[in-house]
Symmetry: C2
Subunit: 498 residues, 2 copies
Amino acid sequence: PEQKTRKYHRVQINGVGYLPEPPSSCIVRAVPSRPGAVPVLSGPCAQPPFIPPQGTRDHHPAQMTLLGRLLGTVVSCFKRHGAAAIDTPVMELREMLMEKYGDNSKLIYELQDQGGELLALRYDLTVPFARYLAMNKITNIKRYHIAKVYRRDSPAMTRGRYREFYQCDFDIAGQFDPMIPDAECLKIVHEILSELQIGDFLIKVNDRRILNGMFAICGIPESKLVTMCSTLDKLDKMPWEEVRSEMVGEKGLSPEAVDRVGEYVQLHGGMDLIEQLLQDPKLSQNKMAKEGLEDMKLLFEYLTLFGITGKVSFDLSLARGLDYYTGVIYEAVLLQQQNNHGEESVGVGSVAGGGRYDGLVGMFDPKGRKVPCVGVSIGIERIFSILEHRMKASREKVRTTETQVMVATPQKHLLSARLKLISELWDAGIKAEMMYRKDPKLLKQLQYCEDTGIPLVAIIGEEELKDGVVKLRDVATREEVNIPREELAAEIRRRLEP
Amino acid sequence: PEQKTRKYHRVQINGVGYLPEPPSSCIVRAVPSRPGAVPVLSGPCAQPPFIPPQGTRDHHPAQMTLLGRLLGTVVSCFKRHGAAAIDTPVMELREMLMEKYGDNSKLIYELQDQGGELLALRYDLTVPFARYLAMNKITNIKRYHIAKVYRRDSPAMTRGRYREFYQCDFDIAGQFDPMIPDAECLKIVHEILSELQIGDFLIKVNDRRILNGMFAICGIPESKLVTMCSTLDKLDKMPWEEVRSEMVGEKGLSPEAVDRVGEYVQLHGGMDLIEQLLQDPKLSQNKMAKEGLEDMKLLFEYLTLFGITGKVSFDLSLARGLDYYTGVIYEAVLLQQQNNHGEESVGVGSVAGGGRYDGLVGMFDPKGRKVPCVGVSIGIERIFSILEHRMKASREKVRTTETQVMVATPQKHLLSARLKLISELWDAGIKAEMMYRKDPKLLKQLQYCEDTGIPLVAIIGEEELKDGVVKLRDVATREEVNIPREELAAEIRRRLEP
């Protein structure tokens, strides 16, 4: 409970989800009972170790390489669908963020009042996007935004749940014919999850209008609709019995009404279920639910044309936690276990989610002008943590630099020659390194190439200087050829750029 | 002075440095006297407009395109020099950041105490890098880090000075032979500023040891050395007379000592000046200064081999504001005026800076183990604001998306055909868009291509469907050819990918 213990507790998060060596001056005090959790480290430390704040972590070069690949896949998909990039500040006026996230508002990081405006860190990219649209009077845009967001949540870092994490958002704003942009968002989720090859997945779909209609016919008062969605959203983390008792207890709903809800939320399927519910005597009488179901039918028609209904399930238990959704909502979950290290690995949870929010932009417009929006957010952190586990398990060695050639000298007193040659290569656009020593041993220079995966060595000695050549060595084959100095850059390019 | 006015004042920052249309409900209340400053806007507004916090701004798609190009140039230079990427959290433990930035510590954004750790937003990328090295016991790395940092400074946004801004840092950590990595940092500044073609520049170089030696022989007490550097650093913003009176007044130094300093800080030159100062009877007697001058000589030898001394000036007035520098320091400034819009445009100031900080890592290590470091930070925001001005002036139209083909239909009732075709193209990796309408007019679809720069249109009508072809239209030439449907993706690729 006390602050200090928690602080040391986190030393081991370096290297997502793995236990690095604890600081030598600390000792392991207690191994926690929850399986998969990390041991608690504690003093006596000479001074508090300086580590990243709870729920955040550094990214090492190998992680950055993996993250770069992942984000590259996401960005190229967003660009394939014609999106433009925007960026917004990490902090926003506090007032602007409030009352947009329901129960979750308490998770917003606030900045200290140091004189001036009251600020907070963004909780997601959707509310800033809506603010951006309203402020600039934009009524029509397809944009993506990849940036970090901040939540004072309880971190579960082995499962990729952090307090600072990337969101990768794609949104379509504008007044269009129903369900066409909505279907594209699902296509995007399908494309990205397929390309990333992280195993089998399922995209659950529902509609806030169907949920609200369902709640209404079950006898839930209208004032409780928003909170019902937040509570229902917990179904993926706790069993129905617990959700039920929260609804009856905390939320004060009648057990009968909640039990009627309980029957509906078990339903999931495809076009057949949509047709069935459109025939449901009670649900089809509700205007909201009927609209939602008809749009859901249209959505499934479009998804059929996209050829992706095999991985999409209309699921009445899907609610999504956030307040601002007004229409279709969706969430992608991974189906397979990712590894065999015990309970912790089962169910990495949602890896993408989103929906339609037609009212949010209007909240920021002085005249309340609405701009209909639909979007999707890719949960890159959870995917990252799965791929990182997999990479570590495969012991695949990742290159963290792209250096093409090492500039080396075989004798002493040749630093000037090395500096001059490497400078020529840099100016020719070649990625080149050299050792920061006056007289390094040739063996050390070659060893550095082996260690870091540099494929070529440009060796310049007395002989080569005299002849105006450079000895180009292939690190893998150990083959060496003399190349006229003025052709060196072209030769390196020829060998490495296919 | 009151909060509200300041708030509205900032509405016009949308579009860096330009005045967009103020909110229609606001009126211009006062035009400030300082030339180039933005007019103060004020009420009566229906409600406070939701805008980004003071000193921060959104990036629009065209700005993101420009920023992407800029960062691309910087990253490829860093990679050309063999650097690996790392990332650290935007927030750090408050305690970790304190006492690293001298007088500037008051500019650190602190987070509210919401229970848990006391946090603050990073002020630069250097201190988190040092923390990262110490925590992970890394003694040897060449890394780059591109991320936003936060300073509660008075913003001057037309000149690219913000409270949230990118830093692009390249650093070399490790124990090496003198001045080799230091010279590479200057080479990097030279490469990046040359490639970006932002006009003529000068890299000023000095050494903290030379400065300290100079202060000592001028009779400045040792306890004032650090604060002298902060004050001297203001020389690029105010004339010597003002700096002098701050030294004498606020800092309480003797006028005679300050005047002796005043003579030295006028000196700048190249190898000749280094040789001259090495002969200076007083300066060469000071151990620190002598070490610094000898290393400076070595540095200039290496820079000569790199062929970049033409743009490097050894300048005794250069001090750099930050506490942590221990050796060579440098700063690049643009020499030319960027445009002719008045005073504001003169001197965009420093566009890159850095130096050696051999003691910083030791401050985070429980045993005080030092890791020598040298690095450089590229001031991308100022360069961005210059290039953005230039782009606006040239009225060059920037494409903000990369869409290759528009999928269009010439008749009604063909939404399904469009959806099916675009889905095939996406799956083949083609960047494709369509209008989100059931039955858009062909003209509208073609107009969209003109507006957004999409080069090709894939038209699918009744006829094409029947024949199993797609009509591929070149937007520029208006030429149309029928392509067998199964060859469409390959044909688009052939036409656009050289």
